[in-house]
């Protein structure tokens, strides 16, 4: 499993990275712009990501814009929406409801922060990523 972690906070990023690198390469991006560049470069190299963990509230480019751009890029590569990278949106508990409404069509799962290992592993198994 090849993962891209998109998160502006160092500690939250470190926690996800330390868990996910046990299952394969775990790259990081600190904002939406970096994330879109990384997804694009990986597709061009024929080494697409299997999973993107995407924070919503970030500087430069927020998660929502990044999410739309990632799906657009996949579209230009002729990737069917159902065959695209799995995207788990990460968000604080108080925003889950708004986020769930806004992102329904574009992402695969929501993870409430702070990240709980058991919940994360459960989602990974659900999508047969591990």
């Amino acid at each position: 499993m090849k993962t891209l972690i998109v998160e502006d906070d160092f500690t939250s990023r470190l926690l996800l990275q330390e868990i996910l690198r046990r299952y394969g390469a775990a790259h990081v991006a600190v904002n939406g712009r970096e994330a879109v560049e990384a997804v694009s470069a990986a597709l061009a190299a024929g080494q697409a990501y299997d999973l993107v963990c995407l924070d919503i509230m970030m500087p430069e480019m927020d998660g929502y814009e990044a999410l739309e751009k990632i799906r657009d890029i996949e579209n230009t590569w002729g990737i069917q929406p159902s065959r695209g990278v799995k995207i788990f949106v990460t968000t604080a508990l108080d925003r889950v409801k708004n986020v769930a409404q806004a992102f329904r069509e574009l992402c695969d799962a929501y993870l409430v922060k702070p990240i709980d290992t058991a919940t994360l592993l459960e989602e990974l198994r659900k999508f047969e990523l591990i």
Partner: protein
């Protein structure tokens, strides 16, 4: 605070961080009384009290007197504590006289309480309470969230301690420059970092700064940023203790 008063009163006391630790201590050491903070994260005082009272909990004396410590001076609180099986309650901040009175009531063999177990006569000090306070670092909750992986916990705590001074400095710069929007976003980031490592108090103060910043209250943001730095020092101390005990455990093992 409670510990200092207990010491002055000539009591031996141990502090534990959460309900899980409290149960573990009660199983192995014969305490005479429990002082229970009700506002603990994860397992609150009411749940912890109910577990202690459960005959299956493995605590040798499930009827040990439990005195609640609560920040809310609300009327219904006393009832809530009693309903959870606790014997009495005192409000925070703890005052020496009040604590002494309540200890006298529940630790004296002649006390009015008929439910408390007899106090061993050999125990001349009368009380060896376990105190529980809301943790700046909720180690138990953190390790549980990482499925018991202490090594991972240590790595993430180390990263947090290295990074946080930089994040606090950035916040202070935004505040000094009067950039309230940027200060709010930075506080939000600090809140996320603190939550990741179960730095409960730090998380709460950062959240308040974020909210004050949204409300445009720069004076309040300023005051809370000073509080945030103070709480970070306490959090760091608790985390460094956690790291030291982890290292000691590793040495014993190897």
């Amino acid at each position: 605070m409670a510990l200092a008063i207990l010491e002055k009163l000539g009591c031996r006391a141990d502090a534990v961080a959460d309900g899980t630790e409290a149960l573990a201590s009660l199983r192995s050491i014969p305490y005479d009384l429990v002082l229970m903070d009700c506002q603990m994260p994860e397992m609150n005082g009411y749940e912890a009290a109910a577990l202690i009272r459960n005959p299956k909990s493995g605590v040798p004396n499930p009827q040990i007197p439990i005195v609640a410590l609560t920040a809310h001076a609300l009327k219904g609180d006393r009832e809530k504590c009693l309903a959870a099986g606790m014997n009495d309650y005192i409000s925070k901040p703890v005052e020496s006289g009040e604590l002494e009175a309540v200890l006298g009531k529940w630790l004296s063999p002649e006390g009015e309480n008929q439910h408390a177990a007899p106090i061993p006569e050999t125990n001349s000090c009368r009380s060896v309470p376990a105190t529980i306070s809301a943790a700046v670092f909720d180690e138990g909750a953190f390790i549980d969230r990482l499925m018991g992986d202490r090594e991972l916990a240590g790595t993430v705590v180390d990263g947090f301690l290295e990074d946080m001074p930089k994040q606090l400095a950035t916040l202070e710069q935004h505040v000094a420059a009067g950039e309230i929007g940027a200060a709010g976003r930075q506080a939000h980031r600090i809140k996320g970092a603190a939550a990741s490592v179960s730095g409960t108090v730090l998380e709460n103060v950062a959240l308040e700064i974020d909210q004050d910043a949204r409300a445009g209250d720069l004076a309040s943001v300023r005051a809370r940023v000073r509080e945030l730095s103070r709480q970070f020092r306490l959090t760091r101390q608790a985390m460094e203790n956690f790291r030291k005990s982890a290292q000691a455990r590793n040495r014993t093992r190897s």
